[in-house]
Symmetry: C2
């Protein structure tokens, strides 16, 4: 009882003295800090160390012992899991306000995926002992972290259901709609996915091959549903994609033939 667990694995405690504690104003707007008063925010931030990552860089690697916990301030990451046979999956997309590495720390197991930056990104890093201590000292923080984990679980279960019950075209539709919701930017033609996204990436998110993804997007482009391009995607008719995702076979569906919702 009351047994102390080694949350950071068994490696020596390396606590690099924060060069300078980040400013509270940088995180005030994040939902993770909604519940906390200024004092608590400052207390938690005092232990954090900012870090900058360019596209392709990773703050931690699959298989590493848990050591640090990261909070994304800006930019975006894709969490890639590689199997022993070399097959890959993108387990989730990580954006501002999301944590990385906390699952492994809480589980006391090696990291199960490598988060790779797809944009110039800024993160905060905590030594994992400090992170655990912050949660113990500020229950509101712990609850906020749990909220994020709960959302993560629901998303994973949703994707699990899609993978088990849907055809490839539906899964791709769901995937791009989810991308638009998580990282979409309104543009003239519709909604643009606001980071470089290859066909291969979509394939890794949907359990399809890049060939099938390419074919599907080509078909959609011919129907005017999307604008494709090199590492680039614009959803011109999200409502039609939603109908495809919902189970309608698609068939001869065009932009005009589907009732455009008045709201939104």
């Amino acid at each position: 009882m009351g047994q102390q667990l080694a949350f950071c694995g068994d490696r020596p405690k390396s606590r690099p003295a924060p060069a300078r504690s980040p400013d509270v104003s940088a995180v005030r707007h994040l939902r993770l800090f909604d519940d906390l008063d200024l004092e608590a925010q400052a207390d938690i931030l005092r232990l954090a160390r900012p870090q900058r990552l360019g596209p392709g860089e990773a703050p931690l690697r699959q298989g590493d012992a848990p050591d640090l916990v990261f909070l994304v301030l800006s930019g975006r990451f894709k969490a890639v899991q590689v199997t022993s046979e070399g097959a890959q999956v993108v387990t989730r997309l990580v954006g501002p306000g999301d944590l990385m590495g906390h699952v492994a720390v809480l589980n006391d197991k090696p990291h199960s995926a490598t988060p790779i930056a797809v944009l110039e990104s800024l993160v905060l890093a905590w030594n994992c002992d400090d992170f655990m201590e912050a949660m113990r000292r500020h229950p509101g923080f712990a609850v906020a972290v749990m909220r994020g984990m709960a959302a993560s679980i629901q998303e994973a279960h949703t994707r699990l259901r899609e993978a088990a019950t849907e055809r490839v075209e539906q899964r791709i539709a769901h995937a791009v709609l989810r991308l638009a919701r998580q990282a979409g930017r309104r543009v003239a033609n519709g909604v643009e996915i606001a980071f470089p996204l290859t066909r291969q990436d979509i394939a890794l998110m949907t359990g399809a091959t890049l060939h099938t993804v390419s074919r599907t997007l080509s078909a959609w482009e011919h129907q005017g549903l999307v604008d494709g391009g090199r590492q680039h995607l614009v959803l011109r008719a999200p409502w039609v994609l939603a109908r495809i995702a919902g189970g309608a076979a698609g068939g001869e569906e065009t932009i005009a033939s589907a009732g455009r919702p008045s709201g939104e």
Copy 2:
């Protein structure tokens, strides 16, 4: 800031006075209470109300507003998610020490699955406000809850990877091995799944049809890898199944041809 969130949805707070607070001894051995001293355990249990469920019964239903959080003391549940088209998935298996309903409560969204008892089961129920309050008052409890959620996330991501990269036979192998780990009981012939499990259940866990599952299990039974039966399964050669799960095509593999591990 400090804005109070409606964790229980907007329904009136119904707090049925606990008939009698459950005994601390019933939960002492659960990992969820490892970190807590006796006083904290008692404080948390004081708010809980025991409840008994028979096979087929569900403590909550998919789509319901979050209201209560449950802790399984004994028995077992399968969490079933149904899509609008009627397709079903089993998102997870819930056993002693696991929570139910907490994800929806933390997310403040309707329950995303219905946990159905597959055995006579005993659970503890908390009003969700009380549950949140317990976590705020006892950070160690919050951390323990998070540990369970972290495990849940890793399992979901693992299954996501399997669904995306593996053939049906491999997925079934992984599924039955996971079942054996979570609900296995050593018997003379090997390891028995210790609750009634239909082919359909396995199909809902793996994204296959019950026909394919039946065919696969029949083939395994002919090879002596498993003993099948009505709602019944015994793994005679888990190490061979592990090899099948690991990617080996199986082919002419028999019990004898695979090196039996010395340990365990």
